[in-house]
Amino acid sequence: MSVIEVKNLSKTFKSKVKGKGLKGSIKSIFKPKYKTIKAVNKVSFNVEKGEMVAFIGPNGAGKSTTIKMLTGILYPDNGDIKILGLDPRKNRKKLAYEIGTVFGQKEQLWTHLTPYDNFKFFGAIYDMKDYEIEKKIEELKALFELDEFINTPVKSLSLGQRIRCEIACSLINDPKILFLDEPTIGLDPVVKENIRSFIKRMNKECHTTVFLTSHDVGDIEKLCKRVIIINNGTVVLDDTMENLKYHYLNKKIIDAKMKEKINLDDEKGIKILKDKGYNLKIEVDLKEKNISDAIKLLDPDKIIDINISNTPLEEIISDIYKKDK
């Protein structure tokens, strides 16, 4: 069952164009000029119940605009959106009871209050009864391990603890879909890992559908089974993570430490990425050359140490972005 249905979604923004210098500024007062920016252009996709989908793209690709339209914050120019069967344009308030949102760069918690008081506050906002709020707080406390700081004012919490509380708070109303916009932004690797495990656990235990935007490949790789890539306002890839890796991981990186210098140039299937005499880094295109032939080129007798790895997912995604340009 699709919980998010998006069809031909489009949104344009009008932005003022100002001429150079004083003359341009004065002219723009009397004769303002505008340019139209197509932020989202005929985007279509469906998300099934319980899925964890990564919605990614470079800066300015249109992902935040899309997420804002899905949550009823922005009005689309064209296209249809159905979130749990509701149109966010017409049923924003009704929809608000059914979804949760976390915008990593925006705080929703009241910082002078404790997480407990915040949960009580948001529970009341969602018209929950006192006993329901208390029950939910107990669940969230266990799920996100909040026991230690649930009665500490939010302003005294670390960033990682605060994000944990932000996510927990967005679950107070038992949302069927959770929209996470850069939830791990600004966090250190350990805390990121921690947050990811909480999101994973939440998805497993509560069956909440997660729609995630992030620039962090770790978030995408570790959380999502499906990835939608958007660039210049259009969807350029919508596939499972497995397929993405299978189709795009046809390159291997060989890092080799040599006994003596060898002369190697770019050739079909081989690209020299780094050549520092005794240290070599080459990229092998497996469609053109198999890995054993590539190793033979290095002369195995002269190798002291070797490491063969896949192309990092970050580079794959970056390649997809570039290809689309």
Partner: protein, 263 residues
């Protein structure tokens, strides 16, 4: 309604954190009243005389009442906060919560107002007694009813401030509009009752929001009568409805134009 009471309660708890700094900041009220006390003392060469129907004691209590209400509500902050919310897109993040933004701001503002009024009003009454003696023709019920109209009048003021703040959806800076508005309110109705204005504009002013906001409640405080109370209450109900509708319309129109990209 329950959720707005909860917002009120939460903001009230928040305000309690700043009780000390508010008390220190409010000491300026003493200075302001002292200045007006001396100014009016000079104008009333004979303390028993009446100027435009107000005795010296009534005049000082009038200013004490309006200045107290004025000090309890920070219109500039309301306008600035809403403008900032609109400009940096924060308002968008409030939209996907199941509450009405206008009611949310009203609840928050009134929690802060209540907290300040609970401190300032008793302090102002004590100050008034020390400086000029009893409230003229003191009547406890009349005083309480005047305070209630003062609260309703402040609600009208807050709704106007919210509307001005929401103009940021359509213009670069709403602050100059608030500046003009605040100066008009300060001079007409807060520092000077309507009777001190030129006769030609007095009938207009008596039908304006100023009547509902500050003049009406303050006049009731110093010269209570039930006929006037009814007039004040009627004008307050009308202006509350009118400005509530206007504020919601401005908001609805504004959010359709909202332009939050990036992130």
């Amino acid at each position: 309604m329950k959720k707005y009471l909860f917002i009120f309660k939460t903001e009230f708890i928040n305000s309690l954190q700043y009780v000390k700094s508010f008390i220190v900041g409010s000491l300026s009220l003493i200075l302001i009243i002292y200045i007006y006390l001396n100014l009016w003392n000079f104008l009333y060469s004979d303390p028993e005389s009446l100027i435009n129907g107000y005795s010296y004691t009534q005049m000082i209590w009038y200013i004490l009442f309006t200045e107290t209400l004025w000090s309890c509500i920070k219109g500039r902050k309301i306008v600035r906060d809403i403008s900032t919310d609109v400009k940096n897109g924060n308002i968008a993040y409030q939209m996907n919560k199941p509450y009405n933004y206008i009611n949310y701001i009203l609840s928050k503002t009134f929690a802060d107002f209540t907290f300040k009024l609970l401190i300032l009003l008793p302090a102002a009454i004590v100050l008034g007694h020390i400086l000029i003696g009893n409230i003229p023709n003191f009547n406890l019920l009349g005083c309480l009813l005047a305070i209630i109209t003062g609260i309703l009048g402040t609600m009208v003021n807050v709704l106007i401030c919210i509307s001005i703040g929401l103009l940021s959806f359509f213009m670069e800076d709403a602050a100059p509009i608030y500046w003009i508005y605040s100066k008009v309110i300060l001079v007409i109705g807060t520092l000077f009752p309507i009777e001190f204005m030129p006769e030609i504009i007095q009938p207009v002013l008596k039908y304006s929001p100023i009547f509902a906001m500050n003049y009406g409640p303050a006049k009731l405080f110093v010269d209570f009568n039930y006929d006037f109370l009814i007039k004040v209450l009627i004008s307050q109900v009308i202006y509350l409805i009118v400005f509530y509708i206007i504020t919601n319309l401005v908001y609805k129109k504004g959010v359709k134009n909202i332009n939050v990209n990036g992130g």
